[in-house]
């Protein structure tokens, strides 16, 4: 029992594909014809970037995938990633009226993938920046989905955008943090090439605050957008946490994206601490890379877990096991200083709802690898060092004007996980775009109008915005 390489390259590759396979042309057209072309489509309201979904689906049905991709990417420059990683069950597909009618929604995510795959695989540019530039320059800190969304929108509004990224590759969590079988890094990097094609410059390996100061940025640029996401995973604060096989789940996932799949070591008996969507990703990927037993250890019950139901199902399908109402007390090492077991203890909800240990219920649990997925830390220290005067919310997120993304610091706008506390890729993109519109308004005085549903233009009656303004969320069916 040890951490190591479990699979040969072919096995690893096969296990890591096939989550939502691409549609063939005929499959796409059949699926597209299921769309009813709603007047004020609820799917648009459920999409944080407000993509005109019925419109792009209609274009697939009529055999115009390029026009379809144009509709998608104009609203969401990361439309290819979002097609694969969005939790569509609780977003567009969860709101689809066909779900109500037939019990099975239009497969919006896979249709979106069909259209965006078409333009990327055929190297067709559907977005363009205006020839006439504003002469304004905006610095963007972080090349994750928020920064990219902001940069793409700024470029299309005629501004110069320069992204500063501390990692070697751009894309942030979109490149390093998505479960590999849901989306490969190539999708994210391809999208970034498209955004660079709009004139956006990305300077990788540059850490703002170390390699360049924020005051320098504010001097060199007309505005700054902050999209630095979240920090490392929270500490477990138990003995043995510093053992070598106790790893931050996000680091494990990043390694899957940096190294060849068959060179990522996993344990035979992997324990994942926490039960959010990252925990599920860590569990399923370790299982697919050859772990024998994978177990989620969660201090609360099944109904409390933050992971989506469909993610929970995915983990169960992959053979994941779950220990609910269980606390981690200690990670135990063997003589060689390697993780060999865990000390766990059963818990029950206390009077205030918080889990409390049940005395005498300790037990030993065999384990050779621990993945920590108990939530990511807010970047409070980083932010206060970059912008000492920045006003923060009590929960450690950046305080901003929700309509424009403007922070309390002159010239500085913000969006994405560092502002919302950690949500989906699509939320980060939307907030990046909102920030870009806020910056546009700040720089030019022109109001950046928020889109309404295109079908509603010129129509009187109760307003119905797109999800870009105020996205709705549906409960899982």
């Amino acid at each position: 029992m040890a951490v190591g390489i479990k699979l040969n390259p072919a096995q690893a590759e096969e296990n890591m594909t096939g989550y939502k396979p691409p549609f063939s042309k005929q499959e796409a057209i059949i699926e597209a014809n299921r769309c009813l072309f709603c007047f004020d489509a609820p799917c648009i309201m459920a999409c944080p970037t407000g993509i005109d979904i019925p419109s792009f689906i209609k274009k697939i049905a009529s055999g115009s995938p390029v026009a379809s991709a144009r509709t998608i990417l104009r609203a969401n420059p990361l439309g290819a990633s979002c097609a694969q990683v969005c939790p569509t069950n609780v977003l567009c597909e969860g709101a689809c009226v066909v779900l109500t009618r037939e019990g099975d929604p239009v497969k919006i995510g896979r249709l979106q993938r069909y259209a965006t795959d078409h333009v990327y695989s055929n190297h067709i540019d559907v977005l363009e920046a205006p020839a006439e530039k504003s002469g304004k320059k905006v610095a963007i800190i972080g090349s994750g989905p928020a920064g990219l969304g902001c940069a793409a929108e700024l470029a299309q509004l005629g501004h110069e955008a320069v992204i500063f990224e501390k990692e070697e590759l751009p894309g942030g969590l979109n490149t390093y943090g998505i479960a590999y079988y849901k989306m490969t890094p190539a999708i994210s990097l391809g999208e970034i090439e498209m955004i660079k094609g709009l004139g956006v410059e990305i300077r990788c390996g540059v850490q703002v605050g170390i390699d360049i100061s924020t005051s320098q940025l504010k001097e060199d640029f007309d505005a700054v957008f902050l999209g630095i996401g979240l920090g490392k995973s929270h500490q477990l604060n138990v003995p043995g946490e510093d053992l070598p096989e106790v790893i931050d789940a996000l680091d494990f996932i990043a390694q899957i994206h940096s190294d060849p799949l068959h060179e990522v070591p996993v344990g035979d008996n992997v324990a994942v601490i926490g039960c959010g969507n990252t925990a599920i990703d860590a569990l399923t990927q370790s299982k697919r890379l050859g772990a024998n037993i994978t177990t989620i250890i969660y201090r609360r019950g099944e109904t409390d877990m933050p992971a989506y139901d469909f993610e929970f199902d995915l983990a169960k399908t992959d053979g994941g096991e779950f220990l609910f109402h269980t606390l981690l007390k200690e990670v135990v090492a063997n003589d060689e200083g390697r993780v060999s077991s865990l000390v766990l203890q059963k818990s029950q909800p206390g009077p205030n709802g918080r889990p409390e240990a049940i005395a005498g219920s300790e037990f030993s649990f065999p384990c050779d690898m621990v993945l920590k997925a108990v939530g990511s830390k807010k970047q409070v220290e980083m932010l206060s060092s970059l912008f000492p005067d920045m006003e923060m919310n009590a929960n450690g997120t950046v305080k901003l004007d929700p309509a424009t993304g403007q922070t309390s610091v002159e010239k500085v706008f913000c969006g994405g996980d560092c502002a919302n506390g950690g949500r989906e890729v699509v939320n980060a993109v939307a907030e990046g775009i909102k920030g870009a519109r806020g910056i546009h308004s700040y720089l030019s005085g022109a109001s950046a109008e928020s889109p309404v549903q295109p079908s509603r233009l010129g129509v009187d009656g109760a307003p119905s915005g797109s999800g870009f303004i105020n996205p709705i969320r549906v409960t899982e069916q």
């Binding site: 009813l36 709603c38 007047f39 609820p42 459920a46 009226v97 109500t100 119905s464 549906v474």
Partner: protein, 437 residues
């Protein structure tokens, strides 16, 4: 169990479902298969002097996922010899004595008509159908629709046929004409025993946007083809009803045009048909479609208490009247069942952009019991009944069964037809109805 058998102008058949003259009725082999599947009759692919066909021959209109909503062909009459065809008809009749086999004919001169009519009777065919309808190829040689479009010519040629006919004669009519009752009356005057309609409609189904040549493609060209399939059913039913309602026609009608299910069949029967011919649906799915047609029609007749086809036949003919006899005071309005509404709001935009602007979108807070699938803040459609003209559009676009119901409402007014209205207006008995604002 209803009795589905028919006696159509002297041709008896175990059921009203006949394979129409066309590719599925081209050979004894196919006729055997058709009868084995349950078809009541076969109208043989039109027999005449030898012709030569081209490749390709067929094309289709597809709508969304619905394939072959419409279909066209540029195939001519049979490309097999008359000897082969008459020999095979004799073979088929021998094996299926109680089923209907009808020889479809198309020739040119009086002598040829006499010869082919006699050979048909000699082969044992139960009847003859005169193909005056084919809109391509043959008409350019003075046959097919070239005959059917000129009542005088139709009458004369049918007269030739009747001079020697010893078995029932059906005249098949072309729809490529302004008033189908004119050739139908000519058939009656010439002494024909029955009519069948419709033949195919002149058409171009689609243009290939790469080659810019329409389909079906023949070496860089195409030609006007004969159109059929589900899309022509409304046109066919209009013509069937017109003939059925015309006392100067007064002949049994074999209905043709887009029939593919028992429901289509029942509608054609209700509009005056007593035999039904099917081609395109067979070309799409094979002979076995007749099983559902037989069982479905039987169950339908039973459910309505009809014992035979004839109890249903023509039941809807009289309800189709001239527009000026319709009641101007009849009113119905759209009512939305909010328990069924899924929130697509297609009714709203159809009324708003496509009709009479009498559906409002209101805040869901103004309504209790909003429908399933409703999302927070999603506007709800509400019909302004006082403005609703009762046009049906919203109920037609609604994707949910029985969600929008067109409900008759009483306005306390006596029925008033346009004719009566004009008369009373002229007499000064009533004021004019104000124009719509």
């Amino acid at each position: 169990m209803a009795d589905l058998s028919i006696n159509f102008a002297g041709i008896s058949s175990p059921n009203p479902f006949w394979v129409a003259s066309g590719p599925p009725a081209n050979s004894a082999y196919q006729a055997h298969r058709a009868f084995e599947a349950g078809w009541g009759g076969v109208v043989w692919k039109t027999i005449g002097e030898p012709i030569v066909n081209v490749a390709s021959r067929y094309s289709a209109l597809n709508v969304g996922q619905a394939q072959i909503v419409g279909f066209n062909n540029i195939e001519l009459i049979t490309d097999r010899s008359p000897e082969t065809n008459f020999r095979e008809i004799a073979e088929v009749k021998k094996r299926w004595p109680n089923h209907a086999v009808i020889a479809s004919l198309m020739v040119d001169t009086r002598e040829q008509w006499h010869e082919y009519v006699k050979r048909s009777a000699d082969s044992g065919a139960d009847g003859i159908e005169l193909n005056y309808g084919c809109p391509h190829g043959m008409c350019e040689r003075g046959m097919g629709s070239a005959v059917g479009q000129q009542p005088k010519v139709l009458e004369e040629i049918t007269g030739w046929v009747m001079e020697v006919a010893t078995i029932p004669v059906i005249v098949k009519l072309t729809p490529n004409i302004t008033d189908v009752t004119a050739p139908a009356r000519a058939a009656r005057r010439a002494g024909a025993d029955a009519i069948s309609l419709i033949n195919t409609i002149n058409s171009i189904t689609n243009v290939n946007l790469d080659t810019l040549v329409p389909e079906p493609y023949v070496a860089g060209q195409s030609t006007h083809g004969g159109y059929c399939g589900p899309a022509v059913k409304p046109i066919a039913m209009n013509m069937v009803q017109s003939c059925a309602a015309d006392p100067d026609v007064g002949l049994p009608i074999s209905g043709i045009g887009g029939i593919g299910t028992w429901r289509d069949a029942a509608e054609f029967i209700a509009l005056g048909s007593t035999s039904l011919q099917v081609c395109t649906a067979i070309m799409h799915r094979g002979f076995r479609i007749v099983e559902d047609m037989i069982e479905g029609l039987n169950d339908y007749l039973d459910s309505k208490g009809f014992e035979t086809i004839y109890d249903l036949s023509g039941k809807s003919v009289a309800s189709v009247q001239n527009w000026n006899t319709l009641d101007l005071h009849y009113q119905r309005v759209a009512r939305i069942d909010y328990e069924k509404c899924i929130g697509c709001n297609l009714c709203y935009i159809a009324c708003e952009d496509g009709a009479h602007q009498c559906i409002d979108l209101i805040s869901p807070d103004e309504r209790h019991g909003i429908g399933p699938g409703r999302l927070p803040g999603k506007p709800v459609p509400q019909v302004r009944e006082e403005d609703c003209v009762g046009c049906n559009l919203c109920s037609l676009v609604c994707p949910v069964e029985d969600c929008i119901n067109m409900t008759p409402i009483s306005n306390g007014k006596e029925p008033l037809t346009w004719k009566q209205y004009e008369e009373r207006l002229a007499k000064g008995e009533m004021a004019s109805i104000p124009p719509h604002p």
